[in-house]
Symmetry: D3
Subunit: 245 residues, 6 copies
């Protein structure tokens, strides 16, 4: 099984971190293929950057998805998820979607810990129809880069935020919502009184599950490939993908 | 990995069908352990039968879950799911919960095809907070027993119902909602224009994912074990389980 | 009118307290018939105990409902309510359902004061479709047994919690949510600035109202009796009830 | 117990019909006191007429509620319900509110049959927070006056509409939603496969229940009397009522 | 363009303040026509007063709307909005409705600052279907009269409440919700870190937009004029308006 | 007032149609400045095309918004709306958002008529928090290009779909949802029994209203400019805009 880990941030270290975390949980026989975005923000953390990154994501997938069996989006905004699901013929999983759906199997509600803006994540939860299971969101004052530079400090902030979420909102699972938090649950689990999960680990598991399900690509509906569509000024593989090629 | 497949219907053939479907998708190294309920309805299909079966489920799990790494409830009502999740220390997955969460990875909405009463499944969808993603429910006029006796006829009814759901409600995934439909998606996929999934296959995949996540048991909240509780008149293993033993 | 007060906790003192509270508000001509569960938890306070108690409730009703005109469930979880409503031919009212619906006649929102876990009551409110009218829930640190042993202390805790709910959430009615709080509103009303109600008093009034309405039993839908159903290993009256006998 | 039946339609025959239906279900010792609106539409059936009728209702209650123990609004729009509840010191029940809350005790969802505009009733259901339990609404082509002139024909239309609601929407209770339908359930019950209820019968029962509860008037919140308020140009009793006199 | 500014409070100073604020933002060629209610509360601030004021509003519009091109309701409860929209042939805009819809163009959520009861405004937001965009409501301890007598003090209170709403709830727009706050945004904008708007300014803009749209009056639905309706005891112009004259 | 009409479809005829419709309703003194996207689909009609177009939109706005007072997005998907609102200092209005908010002033519910996929518009309605006011969506079988080539035929299809929406769903306003439908309401209004509006006309009016409101740019929240952000490989004006330049 070839599992593409697609990171639209233009920072290769984020890709590497995610790939390492993915390999740590992948089943024997699952090959992890990491790729990084060509243009856009170094670290996506605004609506505009995320909008641009969706284009970068599609361009990247048009080039690299052929040959892969499944795709995991390694970005906490699940950038371009539905667009990718529409045009690709293999399953696509977003890391935040993965962590939230997995959290649903472990508790009646979940809380999110993020580096970013709660409103944007709340919109993502609503898009996925999971608002009723969201207990709350806590943003921590740290950047993804801090997570690489000083993991112990960021681990402590995340653990504190997760414990506070549980205490104040009754969250029954803590979801770590950021590519830079990949692999962190194992380090902080004993500081949080509920299950702690992250999107890369959950996402790899769900990707493997989907490949085994062998479910067919939709032929109708909003995720069917729209078919032959003329475009202007796009990279050749992307243009070909939109043409259904 | 030892995966307990727990069927509270008192009909061993249902257990066998589910076990066979589970083995068909399980990873190498996953052992499927099927068990059947001791008392209650032969085929659960009413609120009262389901209420009684939750007791049977807990009694069965009290006896058989020790030694298992994860539990899959092989009954479309996900009978006793939250109660089992509360008292057991290993992950527990309901087959209908599993199919609906997996469907969320394949389409923006899903439809259910069942042998039973739509209202009860609608309540289950609401309990899981997934109402926004439910496109509709279709009941077919057939019993689980028909599914064993005359699979081709029941396959056709299910395929027709799934196709009608897609046509009329815009459902983007068809979820087959019944233990007796385990294994059916492969046979009818080409008659339905969207992905078709069933709970046993999805559930086995999610069980394997959860075991790999190694998430801790909740110590607080509504799914923490409530601790030392005196009871009267219960089977010894169940009484011990409630005592936290 | 014969009104069955059915308590699935296996503690007869709870039954007696509820029966006394019921007799205090019953109309002349209403006979209160209390019964107690045969097996399960002494005081139900977890999901697993509640699941087991639903079986005990149905077994108890199968034996005692014949001859009664209406049934009041004397347990704050409304254990087995919909299952009982499905198989019995007389009306069935849950005490918490009763208090919440009555609260809707007295304020635009209500708050719950309980001995138990907020999450489970929140699920009950959602099952009844009343989430929009729920202002909040407060759990008090006391057990039902404390309520019998030291009523003045527990009264004070409940009154304080109710007043805090009003202050902090804007709740316009305080609902006391526990069989052990039967009769408490009269003692604490002057310490809470909004109406205070409990489930036994409200439930008796609603039972009397339903009997006078003489509404017919549903012949279709999720609360119609499912008809002839074979079962294994159940008490004879329950087995007969499920057979529609 | 003195129960005021307040009809803001300026048609005394509607008042009489409601009073007769109320007396038919009232307990011994409950005295029914009917009153009719002084100004406004003969039969309220538009938003503007209903807005005007709320003033007429308050004027009528200011004059007649003193001396009554409880008030039942005999108009399917529950005209002025929350305003009346705010300024009166005795409980106030709307007939449609009453029928919907009672329906919640008999089925998991209810359907409404009305003479009027579905949108307005849908707004009322939403105001009461009961949208999740509404299966659907059917308007029949007939006027309240037809109901008096040719009851058999209107009975048939209502019965057909109720049966269609059950068939098409899965409604588990049929609520007859119009003052002119008071007393109709007994005549059509055998033509509808689920319980049928009307607002006057349900309302009288709920009024009696509330009087027995002896719940206190709210001192805070949106239904507390706002206290000393100067007004211009109102009838003297209404002016006095708003002054808290 | 003739724009009627209709204030159902019986206090002419409120009308004048609103007219002044309306003229300050009106386009050249828009004539502002202010009118004041004939009966009811000096300042509407309770459910009963608001119910009575809806009648006063309709009476006032029946007399003054003929000749106007559009109507702005100058009262924060949007008193009688849907009733007016039903019977008039020109567009009608409520000032609070206007400010909330305009806020939707400036932020993903809005908060309300009012002189009144949060519950009643929350019901208004729900009636408009905007609950998902409401971040919160803050009431300030001041009366509309204070706003005229001591504007600096009230400005400070409103600015503080708006800033607190933003801080505590994440509101992305602050909506000032009271006729007496007309014109206040310009004075406090630099003390609040998000856009601040009031209903009169927003309402005038939306009235002008609607007149330019030249959309037709609904001929069907809940806002179509119900046609010939006999009434009793109403002012002649209102009686004529209800007759469709 | 300079009003930028930004069309991310790479088809200049769509831009021209929208500009013409905008000029037809603009106030004297409002200058319409049309611009067309540089890359992407000729006519956006899929999720992937829309994702790419958001990048094109932001690039176009980075170049052309400086000097404009307000921006109207001339694309029925409101492509890149929140991202544009985040990074620009002037107000931004989406044409579909505009038509839906305006519809809220004319009816209690609205229906959408589109050339595209209902699911995607439904997600847009949900993002705006307006689901409760959506009566339904009808797609017509025609392309935007047909609307230019054979307007009479497309007018008839749209009018029929709008009338059917009203009949079947009770929609009280018909919203024409497509840039190619700009200006159509005037032609079909007499074939539809409720108000008909389109996004360009409504959008121009709302843009003018917002400019007059002079509301400040948010300094906090999800629509504040995120400040200095390094990027890679973007067009110079867009890179500068993201840097806050």
């Amino acid at each position: 099984m070839r599992l593409l880990v697609a990171n639209p941030n233009t920072t290769p270290q984020v890709t590497e971190l995610c790939a390492r975390a993915a390999r740590a949980v992948a089943s024997p026989g699952t090959e992890i293929l990491p790729v990084t975005g060509r243009f856009g923000a170094e670290i996506i953390n605004s609506r505009a950057e995320n909008a641009i990154a969706a284009h970068a994501m599609l361009e990247m997938l048009a080039e690299h998805a052929p040959g892969a069996d499944v795709v995991l989006l390694a970005v906490s905004y699940d950038t371009g998820l539905l667009a990718a699901r529409e045009v690709l013929s293999v399953p696509v999983v977003g890391m935040t979607e993965a962590s939230m759906l997995s959290a649903c199997l472990l508790g009646t509600s979940f809380g999110l810990v993020t580096f970013g803006t709660p409103t944007v994540y709340r919109e993502l939860v609503a898009l996925y129809g999971l608002t009723d299971r969201l207990a709350g969101i806590r943003s921590i004052v740290a950047s993804p880069k801090d997570a690489y530079a000083d993991p112990a400090t960021v681990d402590a902030k995340v653990a504190d935020a997760a414990a506070a979420l549980v205490e104040e909102t009754g969250a029954e699972v803590a979801v770590l919502c950021g590519a830079a938090m990949a692999g962190m649950p194992a380090r902080i689990a004993d500081r949080v009184p509920v299950p702690v999960i992250d999107g890369i680990a959950a996402g790899v598991g769900l990707c493997e599950m989907l490949v085994k399900l062998k479910a067919a690509k939709a032929k109708v509906g909003s995720l069917a490939h729209p078919g032959m569509r003329p475009t202007v000024g796009l990279a050749a593989p992307l243009s070909a993908l939109l043409k259904g090629g």
